[in-house]
Amino acid sequence: MLELDAAVARGALARVTVLREERRTDAAQIIFEQIDSGALGRIPRVATAFTAEAALRERADCERIRLHRRRQTAASLAAAHELADDILARVGPRASSPTLDGENRLLFLSHFATALSDLGDETAAIAVTEFILTDLGQSEHDAFAAALQEGSRSAQARRRIAIQLSNLSVRRTRLGFLARLAGDLEEARRLFELARRDAEQSMRLREGRAATDAYLLSRFNMLRPELELAVAVDELEERDRAIESVQRELLDVVRSSYERPTVSPRSRLIRAGAAGMALVERALISESQGDAARARSLASTARSTMKATVDLWRYDTDETVAVTVRYGEACRLAGSPERAERIWSRTRDRLALLRGETAPAVGWLENRLLELRGRSR
């Protein structure tokens, strides 16, 4: 049971989380600072393990990381990483004496994995998620999902595991694209195949609820690595066919998303953007084959499909590199190289801040910008 002042802090922290999730970072920060200073309740600095105070302390530190991340400065990101390391040491999979246990630990780690992913530390986020899944009893064997389908008592476990698998798929897809930019195609393929497997398992766990938003999301998450694997096909004609096949399925997901009133406009834009990525890749194939007209036509449609999402990310730093890189290609092919330069410069700067100036993906973007400027001259 929390002491009264800690409970007051917990109530106020709920407000901070809502404001942050609504992108009102400054407001969230002001309230958090009041909580942190003791003016609005009290967050325990030291807490006995397995108590409600320990859970509050970890939750507050996790919120602190999210707020640091939104400030997007080198100093704030460094502070966020340091905090993340501290939390990993206290509660993470390798903690020798974790401060939380059982359900409290799993629930917290689920939130913490999202914060790690937000911070660009997908590898740590994946490790934490895998730990959660192992603890939940998830198995990599194909029979696992089928076995879990039986019995109403497993419905709760199915849902939770499906969510974690979905998260894992997104994180691996993100990491896989960065590996491709870094030139490590073998690692990229490995990650995309794992991402597809995770998303497939998530879908199977939700099969009984095929008419739900959750199932649609799992299906979309599966198509993302499918697209990346299709892009990796060597032969151009075969690649085009593979991408077209994924594009058709993505379009089906997009149509279903628009038909469901519970799917938010942002989610619809993100899914439409993925279909746009498929168009860009086919436009690049056309360019390689010397068909400039087809390339331009595909790129124009792709650009219109992806522009809205990219415009939103101007103010929201949670952009997906795979989208902005392809959006730049769409602008270039559609006859707007200056827009391509602007979006790639922005992505490069954000990546450098998040992953360091020497990150391979940063180098790839710098080379691409040089090529673009050389071509423009």
């Binding site: 109530g11 407000r15 002001i30 309230i31 849902r159 834009l269 650009r303 415009d311 929201d316 827009r339």
Partner: protein, 269 residues
């Protein structure tokens, strides 16, 4: 409730100054009074009471269990414990809300998040509370502390004293949202349950149906949300070929200009 002559505000202001012992004394006192009432009325008395088998107390329904004895005392104990433990969470939320004001939507989400935070910290109590507020015929009644918090939050947004009297609408909405929250916390112990799925989205959906004119301010307030809502159908038209990409691009650029203006002139991408 009264502690040492002070009126204890249900939203926790005075509870914060009372000690845990004082609250427990009050709880014990209430339990004794209820047990005495049960003993006086007896089994026949409960059944023959004017309200019949559906006797509803402030703290839940006097359901007639199969064993033959009502569990009112248990329900009251659960509700009093919930009252006492929830109060500081609510107080924290209200203080945080006074630091920065936001839209009704944000406030309703915040109330949902606070209720869930409390329910998560007191999972067994939250489950018991949700069960105690469920009538034998399946209807859930909102927990009074949640209802009062929601009335206060909605009142601060809507009951400015300058326009028409909306107190009845506020009361009705608060009761409806409280019912959703009281039902939702019954899921907090379930693996995979989320505040969004169990409480926040159902609350917003309910408000969207019963009082839709209370929510559009979020669109005026949130330029990005307005942009996303406007852009989404245009993007589908481009993707499906219903309109040419050039036409869509012009419409999207118009929306993007409005977004930039709202965000005070950030350069175009």
């Amino acid at each position: 409730m009264q502690i040492k002559g002070r009126l204890v505000h249900p939203l926790g202001d005075d509870v914060l100054r009372a000690s845990s012992d004082e609250v427990l004394v009050l709880l014990a006192d209430r339990l004794v009074k209820v047990e005495n009432l049960e003993r006086r009325l007896g089994e026949k008395g409960w059944k023959d009471s004017p309200a019949g088998p559906g006797l509803r107390t402030l703290y839940g329904y006097a359901d007639w269990e199969r064993s033959g004895s009502p569990r009112v005392a248990v329900r009251i104990a659960v509700c009093l414990a919930a009252d006492a433990t929830f109060a500081p969470y609510a107080a924290g939320l209200l203080r945080a809300m006074s630091v920065y004001e936001a839209s009704i939507r944000t406030d309703v989400l915040s109330v949902g998040a606070t209720i869930w935070a409390w329910a998560h910290d007191y999972r067994a109590l939250a489950f018991a509370l949700s069960a105690s507020r469920r009538a034998p015929w399946g209807v859930t009644v909102g927990f009074p502390a949640f209802t009062r918090l929601l009335r206060r939050v909605l009142g601060e947004q809507l009951d400015t004293g300058l326009g028409p009297d909306v107190s009845a609408e506020i009361a009705e909405a608060a009761e409806g949202l409280s019912t959703i929250a009281t039902r939702g916390i019954g899921e907090v112990h379930l693996i995979g349950s989320t505040v969004d799925g169990s409480i926040q989205q159902p609350m917003l959906a309910s408000l969207g149906e019963t009082q839709p004119h209370w929510l559009p301010d979020e669109l005026e307030d949130d330029a990005e949300e307005a942009f996303a809502r406007g852009a989404a159908p245009l993007v589908l038209e481009a993707l499906t070929g219903q309109r040419s990409s050039e036409e869509v691009a012009v419409s999207l650029e118009s929306l993007a200009s409005a977004l930039r203006a709202a965000k005070e002139g950030v350069p175009d991408a």
